[in-house]
Symmetry: C4
Subunit: 232 residues, 4 copies
């Protein structure tokens, strides 16, 4: 397998997170521009995000691993898939790329370069939603890598498609994307003051998933069916 140097991995993480956020924010703006039905708006938002995740993870995964998500990079650091010395570069790329994605979406829709979100997303139910959402995301990634590595882009895209609908928070599940979404006052925004609750919940969900899947995915030797033997 080819190895890419850190500059290219940095660029891949920034480009991927940027396009992901541009998709989340941009499709939200498009949706609320075109329809008054919020269910339909979420459907458009979901379809675009899920589709883009499959694409970005497929084309950038071979370069950087396609984390696009500090919670995921942290997990890969903890399970030794990512050298700790690379973590800072990954985090900077993700946060900076994400904000650039919001800017790109705003420019495409002729909005101010950056805004401050006013959409309230807080409270125990929202936080629990983020724990569940990120738990599921990390569990899917870890089990997917173990059993069906080439399908991981699809699994992540489909998981987020579902999670947009089954969690009350519409599944941010990503601290860098959350920060980037605090800078748009549109469909997908989140008040900056609500960020800490979301980010703590996301990291908690990620760590729970790492622990549980560490146990679940480790097969133990099982006693085979054995014909009874005459000799002791």
């Amino acid at each position: 397998m080819t190895t890419f140097d850190l500059r290219r991995r940095f660029a891949a993480e920034a480009l991927g997170t940027g396009l992901l956020v541009a998709t989340v924010v941009g499709s939200g703006i498009m949706a609320e521009t075109l329809t008054h039905d919020v269910g339909l708006a979420l459907l458009g938002n979901t379809l675009a995000t899920g589709a883009m995740l499959v694409v970005l993870i497929t084309i950038l995964g071979p370069i950087s691993g396609a984390h696009f998500n500090p919670a995921v990079s942290l997990v890969f650091c903890l399970n030794r898939s990512l050298p700790p010395r690379d973590l800072p570069a990954y985090l900077v790329a993700q946060f900076a790329g994400g904000i650039a994605g919001t800017i790109a979406a705003h420019l495409m829709f002729a909005l101010p370069v950056l805004e401050v979100a006013t959409k309230l997303r807080s409270g125990p139910a929202q936080w629990f939603s983020e724990v569940v959402a990120t738990f599921g995301l990390v569990a899917v990634i870890l089990a997917g890598i173990r059993f069906e590595r080439r399908t991981v882009p699809w699994l992540v895209g489909l998981y987020i498609t579902a999670a947009y609908w089954f969690t009350a928070s519409t599944s941010f599940a990503n601290p860098a994307v959350a920060v980037a979404r605090s800078l748009t006052n549109t469909f997908s925004g989140i008040r900056p003051v609500d960020l800490p609750g979301f980010i703590v919940a996301e990291l908690l969900g990620a760590v729970i998933a790492l622990a549980l899947m560490g146990w679940l995915l480790k097969p133990e030797p099982v006693q085979q069916y054995q014909p009874l033997k005459a000799e002791p």
Copy 2:
């Protein structure tokens, strides 16, 4: 192939059924919160459920087989894919995991932990729908395993996507999920008193599929085209 011990298979069945029910119930709540158009609500419900099924069967199938469904476990017992002594653990995991899924969905949406459903789902047309839905599900699984094992997660996700729309009952097709859905008084609920009719219909559909596919999938030797031979 690695073999996982029964504790991990139990956990996989519980986790999978739980996430499946959380998706069905949670996306139903999200949908009816966001839109007044019931067709659109079913669309969101469908998309989330179909996507999640692909994910869960892919990542948990290698551990437990990813039944998440007592009707499926029963069929695999009857065709000797699941040792009968493992059946009780699978059933307990599925029913308990399913109820936990309803609880999780309720907590995410700030609803009471459990409710009693009041949505009526009964009568011959509904029961016939469940027979057809479960017949189709089991037929898809059995033929999928036979011809295209790695595609089974997709086939099940796509089949349920279609079945949510072409059956009048929106295709429960799963006794454990049905029980879990009797404990939510939201979009996806079913009155507890309607459970027996649904469960009997589901088991009936499963058994019919097992019988029919047992015949259909068993090739018989066919006479080949033979050039006429001169000698007798």
Copy 3:
């Protein structure tokens, strides 16, 4: 490859066409029951049909080839993929299975066993739509088999997903399905008197595709780039 006898191939064609029609008709009834927005109704109808096609062709293709369509069987007869002596059985299975599918959908939705459709679908634009729809379907099948055989179920499901929307007739593209749909007076119905126009158009489109793809898919030797040689 295993060869299945004609009885099983007959059963596979009947079962597949039946489930396909049950999906088309059933999801149409569900859609018009749940929403007043015809665009949304078509979306539900599309999603169910496309998903079911992928499933049915995957699981029944290895048995019968999964034609489910007299126009397709005819094309395979003409290009010698289906022995002519098997054609009558295929056609009977498709028409009978299709009608059984309408009956099943009606029973699931508590409608009369069979109805006579009153929905007008006629005129040159509709007929041209059916020519295009069936041309595309057969072209996709023939090229798909040539280049990417295992993907054909997905190609057909995706093609019909598109064709429901880009043709004015919503792409019947199948004489057996058209006949079955003339027996339901719901979303997906077609007046019996409009059947001949549709069926002629469909067969015409199929034959045009066979001719064009026969030419397009046949590579001719091309002169290779050759380095100039010194010796003659």
Copy 4:
């Protein structure tokens, strides 16, 4: 690998671009006929276009490469995947095929053979959208070919699915399709006077992608982790 002669490659490019445009234009007409919700109309338009792209690139890619897009052919010329002497034939096929696609859509929906679009699509935000849209498309194609060649049809279909929603221009990203869409006064139309802005933006986005991906996809030797050695 079989090589197809230029006549067949020309036919494949014309047929593919024609069916693509027929899908874009036809599904737009269908959508605005069936619903008054513009978000829903875009959803139908998106679904049909994304699905058709997967199909067309899969079945025609082995013949002509399935560009269907002058910006893509130009990029492949610049990176030496397409011999320059073949470029004119590709461009003629794409523009002529695209216009034929508009004609086919109009005939299917009983509209005048060709119209002049009156839908305004102009201004810096729209142009920037087209730069981003085409940048993304070309980046996806180049990286997809490099890492996951057989998945490219899916990547393109999914990318356009997302791009219809996250760019303000709904992602034309294709000069031949843009010209063909200037000849329909329906949902997907664009005023002829707005074409130059779109086409320049598209070519700009394509060239930026070629430059960036040329750098990003080229791995540089990286220093391996080396155990410390005793000898200097």
